[in-house]
Assembly symmetry: C2
Homo-oligomer: 383 residues x 2
């Protein structure tokens, strides 16, 4: 038996108590779970029901009532495996996206599962993928364990736009996938169709347009799927569609790629309850319409109010969150977000986003009432 | 633009319409989704509500009523991301397993996700994993895309037991993981503790004991976790616990390995509804007890009745399904299972299991009423 601490034996594996774990696991950051509202309530001495959640870009108005009804009406057979072909759901998503079923793949762990299936479909060790920074960090979390090497492009914070040249320069023979998030998380800026097409035409790598928040931007790029062979659009039901807790995402692309991805996709990953909820939410046009208009209203309200603080540098957003630099308040994001927790407000400290320093905070939209409380609390904190 | 059919360009990737898909995807079988009860009802002209599902080793008595209640009571916040640390659920699983929270990892796509995390933790390209055949085919489905090479041991069909020597002989320098399923799917036989320990002591590779069905065998091997550094026990809530449709699985091992696996595990894969259902089912001791005793009763009834058919070779089972060879009926499993579908009975044609020929059928337990109908239909078919 070896000693208790990890001992490096070669380039590929590490041995822990003689167990043969891959070396790459040791290069990843230990996983720090998000804390529950209960824990935050206990630690900061606030009431759980008073907590305003502006940390995770959710839909603050709750799920579609039809989704709740559908779950409770279809619950008696949860002892049976879920459907694996998801025919009706794919059709409903195709309708929603103005495409066909054969263009659709569904993820049972939200869009995160779609990212996983993309990695499995495209990434051999030493292959490269491109991410402009700052952007969604989960791409890297999933792609690295497959041996993928991140190559970073740049997102211009100044004018909140993609630096297209930085992406073009990052392309190499080994580039397999390029992630372009629009609206971009966490900055809220969008990538124009012209910019997208410039990159799409410059490479055979797969261009993954992450449209998790597209409904709030009133822009979508599905027409590019028919026009180019190397476009994949990734979406989620966790935002406008109000189902973050049910983990439903989807991908849209040409039927050939979709067929290949189905070969390697987890077979039963979407639960029966998620299936019911997703299907009925997509049919609830009134709910969707309201989610979008209320979301945009809340975002615009927040933006206008936040702009009034001369200590905050606020980025224009096309999404359901707003990124701001708080350096001139004299606090770091870590300090500032803790002060907000004491007042029962959860925002996202963006220090862990590569490409941002320690002075950025992202706040999601709340209901108008929550927005107002948040602004009032900011006024107390920033004197 | 290249022609439409795949063109091989090198050892690593294939190009489809100039897209750079990994070659390994082409070596996998196209995914054939299981068909829904609706489709079967349509194709075979039977009533959906008459269908007897004996194909997927589910719990035929439905979920715990407490699980249903818990889902519907905790459903209003499904617009919020799930908890990621799953503290209460891990504690409840630890209680159920007589271990501690730090021994537990939860999978949000059943045990299938646990297999995925094991692959990510242990498998670099060219690494080997061992599976005795026949056994659960999903190990291979998940491990191959990571570059893992399956090396096969042997399960003795004659006496329904593991050929330990075949596993020992399969071990090499590159063996990272050995899957030992007990009770074994699809044969129903168990691996004795002595056999397990012989293999555990012979290698530093991780021994994954798949105990998906352990409750039906009244045997469990959790004591081996403290005794050896290289034991991982994998379980599911899809069988005795009646939650196949909610996709909850778990793994049990030493705290160090569990911590490593948490670094790489999907962060939010367990839905809010699955969390509620899992927690309340584990607390429902009466339901669990009934599921086990009814399950064993149904299995023993089926076994005794099936043994009466002189045309069937029936394997003794410690699980909730029974494997039988039907060669002497004069039909293949494919033909025979279609005949059963016409009578509204779904069983598993085992032709796709490596290590079995085209004459094996696996039937899960049903309720006693379903068992009786199944036996009566067999009597009609086997004259």
């Amino acid at each position: 038996m070896l000693a208790n601490k990890p001992i490096l034996v070669d380039l590929k594996i590490i041995i822990i108590d003689t167990m043969k774990i891959r070396k790459i696991i040791n290069q990843l950051d230990p996983y720090v779970p998000g804390r529950s509202q209960d824990e935050i309530a206990n630690e900061y001495g606030v009431k759980k029901e008073d907590i305003i959640k502006l940390g995770s870009n959710e839909n603050p108005w709750g799920p579609s009532p039809n989704a709740i009804k559908a779950i409770c009406e279809n619950i008696n057979n949860i002892n049976r495996y879920p459907e694996s072909n998801l025919k009706d759901l794919k059709e409903e998503i195709a309708n929603y996206s103005n495409l066909k079923s054969e263009n659709v793949i569904v993820g049972g762990d939200g869009a995160d599962e779609i990212i996983e299936v993309l990695a499995k479909t495209f990434i051999d060790p030493e292959d490269e993928f491109i991410v402009p920074l700052p952007s969604y960090m989960y791409y890297e979390f999933i792609f690295k364990p497959y041996g993928g090497i991140p190559v970073y492009g740049k997102w211009n914070i100044e004018d909140n736009s993609l630096d297209v040249d930085s992406v073009l320069k990052a392309i190499s023979e080994r580039t397999k996938v390029i992630f372009l998030c629009s609206p971009n998380n966490p900055t809220g800026g969008i990538i124009t169709k012209e910019q997208l097409e410039t990159i799409i035409k410059a490479t055979d790598a797969l261009i993954v347009i992450d449209e998790a928040y597209y409904e709030y931007s009133l822009i979508n790029n599905t027409e590019l799927i028919d026009k180019y062979h190397n476009v994949f659009i990734m979406r989620t039901m966790s935002k406008v569609l109000g189902l973050a807790g049910m983990r439903v995402g989807y991908g849209l692309s040409n039927p050939k790629l979709i067929e290949y991805m189905h070969r390697i996709k987890p077979v039963f990953s979407l639960t029966r309850t998620s299936y019911s909820a997703a299907l009925e939410t997509l049919k609830d046009k009134e709910y969707i319409e309201k989610s979008i208009t209320n979301g945009i209203k809340s975002r615009d309200y927040l933006y206008n109010e936040l702009k009034k603080f001369k200590e905050l540098d606020v980025l224009k957003s096309y999404s359901n969150y707003i990124l701001m630099n708080i350096k001139r308040t004299g606090h770091t994001a870590s300090e500032f977000s803790k002060e907000l927790l004491k007042k029962a407000v959860i925002v996202r400290d963006c220090t862990s986003f590569k490409g941002l320093d320690e002075y950025w905070i992202r706040a999601s939209i709340g209901t108008l009432e929550e927005d107002k409380k948040f602004i009032a609390i900011l006024k107390e904190l920033i004197k």
